[in-house]
């Protein structure tokens, strides 16, 4: 009864670990499915979502804020999947997207650089030089992505409950560790953690439905009370209040909605 997120670099055997963990615990194992859900729900071509989740935001994105909206869709899709519990997610940024949920076991799987270079060489049939630069560039890109969107460094081990280095440890060893950890009491879902999960889903849904039209809104939800934070009043505030009220009536599980302009946003807001 847990949610396991596995953060990984390319060629780090993370996918293999995830699949084996899911198989052993009988959990669902997802990654791309989240994008498909989001693409279905919000009618956005999957390609655009992939681009959003892969490339770091460019200067242009800062103006169009398309990426923010896409990330809100993806986050909502993931939160919906996670709400069902018993899940292994090995897509990008699971640890940040499910922030604040207590029964999430956050794992990072890393591998020896030399091993990764070798895997890449054999799969892509390229020289060692090329493979190395490709991998390093990929790492850099992902790092930039999380930094620019969430201000977090994926290589910061403090973000995870477990960091496993696949080199001396084999994939099966890693799977054993993770399964063992997942059985711990801390990662059991309780009414309290499920409530937090429901709140996160609600917050993500509100954010996803607002993100398209309003830039820089952050949404927090606690016990079904939704607070929407915006930078300042401005001319959109009245409209935002109207939309918020409408959402409050439409989305199930919302008891109360308020828009708070110019208030420092709490960390748990999505």
């Amino acid at each position: 009864m847990a949610i396991i997120t596995i953060s990984r670099g390319s060629y780090s055997k993370g996918k293999e670990v995830a699949e084996k963990v899911a198989a052993r615990l009988g959990y669902e194992c997802i990654s791309r499915e989240v994008l498909l859900d989001a693409s279905d729900r919000f009618n956005i071509p999957e390609v655009r979502l992939i681009r959003a989740i892969h490339d770091a935001p460019s200067i242009l994105d800062r103006f169009s804020h398309g990426k923010q909206a896409f990330m809100a869709y993806i986050r909502y899709a993931l939160a919906c999947r996670a709400q069902k519990d018993n899940l292994v997610y090995h897509g990008l940024a699971g640890h940040v997207l499910l922030l604040g949920i207590p029964h999430v076991l956050k794992v990072r799987v890393i591998a020896n650089l030399e091993d990764r270079v070798k895997s890449e060489m054999s799969r892509e049939k390229i020289s060692e030089e090329e493979a190395r630069s490709l991998i390093l560039r990929d790492d850099q890109e992902r790092r930039k992505w999380t930094r620019s969107l969430y201000g977090l460094d994926p290589w910061d081990s403090a973000l995870y409950d477990l960091v496993l280095h696949i080199h001396k440890l084999t994939v099966d060893d890693a799977v054993a560790f993770i399964c063992e950890a997942a059985k711990l009491k801390q990662f059991e879902s309780t009414p309290e953690t499920r409530r937090k999960m429901d709140d996160l889903v609600t917050a993500c849904e509100v954010k996803a439905l607002l993100a398209d039209e309003y830039m820089d809104v952050r949404v927090a939800c606690e016990f079904g009370n939704v607070l929407i934070y915006t930078k300042s009043g401005g001319r959109l505030q009245h409209k935002l209040q109207e939309s918020a009220r409408k959402l409050g009536r439409e989305i199930k599980g919302i008891h109360h909605v308020e828009v708070h302009p110019g208030v420092p946003t709490p960390a748990q807001a999505v």
Binding site: N225, R249, H260, G262
Partner: protein
């Protein structure tokens, strides 16, 4: 035309700096004024003596005296007593009530600071609104506008007019008498009230009943009252078994329900318990909340909701405690602070329930909201503690608390000294500041208010705003900057009819007052328009008078203190002020120019 000297350029630069700082508000307006007071002598634009002459000016002393007299009248509570007979005379018709109260406010405002008169009437207006079921939004704006307009009825009614005689003194113009402006002022007040009586339906926001239809049932017609419903609950005997402790603050965050009193078993009653207090088994709770939320809480937390108040009949009943609406006063030290920083709960043991701002109600996480002028806070507490909070004077209570600080028995003295001051001005023609100070001193001596109360009532921000901007006016005049700008403007627009010139001056003053405050606009514009009028062969006194009056014409934006104060309680939005303010502003200018041409025959 004169040559542009380096001094003139420097003065213009300083005016530019002042206007810029007024607009961006990096520092408060009175600090800008003090900056001018210090910078001008340092730049050798005025002598050190001139720099501080504002502090001893007729205008500043008059303002101090007017504030003290106002505070004295306030202490006696005569004003609140005046409302009852007025309402009785007016009957039940909303228009007649608007006319009656507006006119009274205008008259009082003509001898007091506008904001003081407006604040005094706020509680009374709310009571009238409640008892006669007239939407508060129909009453407050007309009355607020009348308080501002009333400032034009006498020469001591508003800061710009008090300043006027000081500003025209360097030009050797004949000073204005106390009632010289009265015909114009009364005309303005009458036309302002007429605007609302005739066009009120179109320019005032629709009553809350109409708005609630759009918002659906959830946001009922008067949410503050809806929140102020008290319920009583009891926790079961096994409340704390097998669960994390539940604190009072948790209930507020989960269900938006405020616990205002508890009984710890066996019978230890606590009114307004601290938020970090844990709930225990067999506890009685009195809460304020929306029925829906209270029921949800009772169900989910397994509490028993009682049909009526039982244990807390005395504690939550009107006699000892209650929920009151308090408005953040202009220039209150609370502006810009959050409720969490102010910590009313700890300091006064009162519980904030909700905040009302710009037509929106806030119930969740209100501790994080930074307060602004005119925000209405719904507070629950015992009368004793609320009274202590009222004594702080940072909040205006719209529900009157039985206040023993009042000295109604001194009403006769207060009236006597006000009359004495007025007689001295009118009959003996003694200088304004001396007469008013006599009245203020008389009130202190006859113990209408103590000297300390008199000192405390003086608002230093107003004093320094006035005193600091006066040297800027002196510098513009002394260096010839005003004359230079006036000539430059007249050269560009060519010769104009005096009436057109006065209209332009009126319009210019209106725009300036919205941007740089009424005092700033007056100080900057009076030297300018006097020079313009002299050059254009118009009456310079009238030009100055138009500035002094038109700088009260700030209705379009809620920047005037009175408008800012009434915005929250009236549930107005900025749009509402633009709509009504635009009409009143245009009428104001037309009436002003019309009466000046009729009375003074230009």
């Amino acid at each position: 035309m004169e040559q542009l000297t380096p001094e003139m350029i420097l003065v213009m630069a300083m005016i530019g700096v002042a206007v810029f700082l007024f607009i961006v508000e990096w520092v408060r307006v009175d600090v800008v004024a003090i900056l001018m007071m210090v910078a001008l002598p340092l730049l050798h634009l005025v002598t050190p003596k001139e720099a501080f002459i504002g502090l001893s000016s007729n205008a500043v002393v008059s303002i101090i005296a007017v504030i003290i007299i106002g505070a004295g009248l306030d202490r006696t509570g005569i004003i609140n007593k005046m409302v009852k007979p007025i309402v009785r005379i007016a009957g039940n018709s909303p228009s007649r009530i608007v006319i009656a109260i507006s006119f009274t406010v205008a008259i009082i405002s003509s001898f007091m600071q506008n904001i003081g008169a407006a604040a005094l009437f706020l509680p009374a207006i709310q009571r009238v609104s409640k008892s006669l079921r007239i939407p508060i939004s129909r009453l407050l704006m007309p009355i607020g506008f009348s308080a501002i307009l009333g400032g034009t009825v006498t020469l001591v009614g508003s800061s710009p007019l008090i300043l006027l005689n000081d500003l025209i003194a360097p030009f050797n113009l004949k000073p204005f008498g106390l009632f010289d402006v009265t015909p114009i002022g009364l005309g303005l007040v009458i036309s302002g009230i007429a605007c609302f009586v005739l066009f009120g339906k179109f320019i005032l926001p629709k009553g809350p009943d109409a708005a609630s239809d759009q918002q659906g049932q959830e946001d009922g017609s008067s949410p503050l009252e809806e929140i102020g419903e008290a319920y009583e609950l009891k926790t079961p005997d096994d409340f704390t078994h097998y669960r994390d402790p539940v604190r009072i603050d948790d209930l507020r965050r989960r269900y938006l329900v405020n616990v205002v009193a508890i009984v710890e078993p066996p019978d230890f009653k606590i009114v307004n318990p601290p938020p970090d207090m844990e709930l225990r088994s067999g506890m009685d709770l009195a809460v304020y909340g929306v029925e829906r939320d209270v029921k949800r809480m009772a169900e989910q937390e397994g509490m028993f909701l009682k049909d009526s108040l039982q244990v807390f009949q005395n504690e939550v009943a009107e006699g000892t405690s209650g929920a009151v609406e308090a408005v953040v006063a202009p220039r209150s030290p609370l502006v810009g602070k959050t409720l969490r920083q102010i910590d009313l709960q700890d300091r006064f043991r009162v519980t904030p329930l909700a905040i009302y701002r710009h037509g929106e109600i806030y119930r969740a996480e209100i501790g994080d909201l930074a307060l602004g002028v005119g925000d209405a806070i719904l507070l629950h507490g015992t009368w004793k503690r609320l009274k202590a909070l009222q004594g702080e004077k940072s909040l205006l209570f719209t529900t009157p608390i039985d206040v023993d600080l009042m000295r109604p028995e001194k009403a006769v003295f207060a009236g006597f000294w006000l009359a004495t001051a007025l007689i001295m001005i009118m009959i003996f023609k003694i200088q304004l500041s001396v007469c008013l100070m006599t009245g203020a001193l008389g009130m202190v001596i006859t113990k209408v208010l103590t000297i300390d109360e008199a000192y405390q009532s003086v608002d230093w921000r107003t004093i320094f705003l006035l005193a600091g901007l006066i040297p800027l006016g002196i510098a513009t005049e002394k260096t010839g900057t005003a004359a230079w700008i006036a000539h430059a403007v007249l050269n560009t627009i060519g010769t104009v009819n005096p009436m057109v010139l006065l209209s332009i001056i009126g319009l210019l003053s209106t725009v300036f007052t919205l941007v740089v405050s009424n005092v700033g606009a007056t100080v900057l514009l009076v030297p300018l328009v006097v020079n313009m009028a002299i050059a254009a062969n118009a009456d310079p006194r009238m030009a100055a008078l138009v500035v002094g009056l038109a700088t009260n014409n700030s209705f379009i934006l809620p920047t005037h203190q009175v408008n800012a104060l009434y915005m929250g309680p009236g549930r107005y939005r900025s749009v509402d002020f633009m709509k009504a303010g635009a009409v009143v502003s245009v009428v104001f200018l037309a009436v002003l120019i019309g009466i000046i041409s009729l009375v003074y025959g230009i």
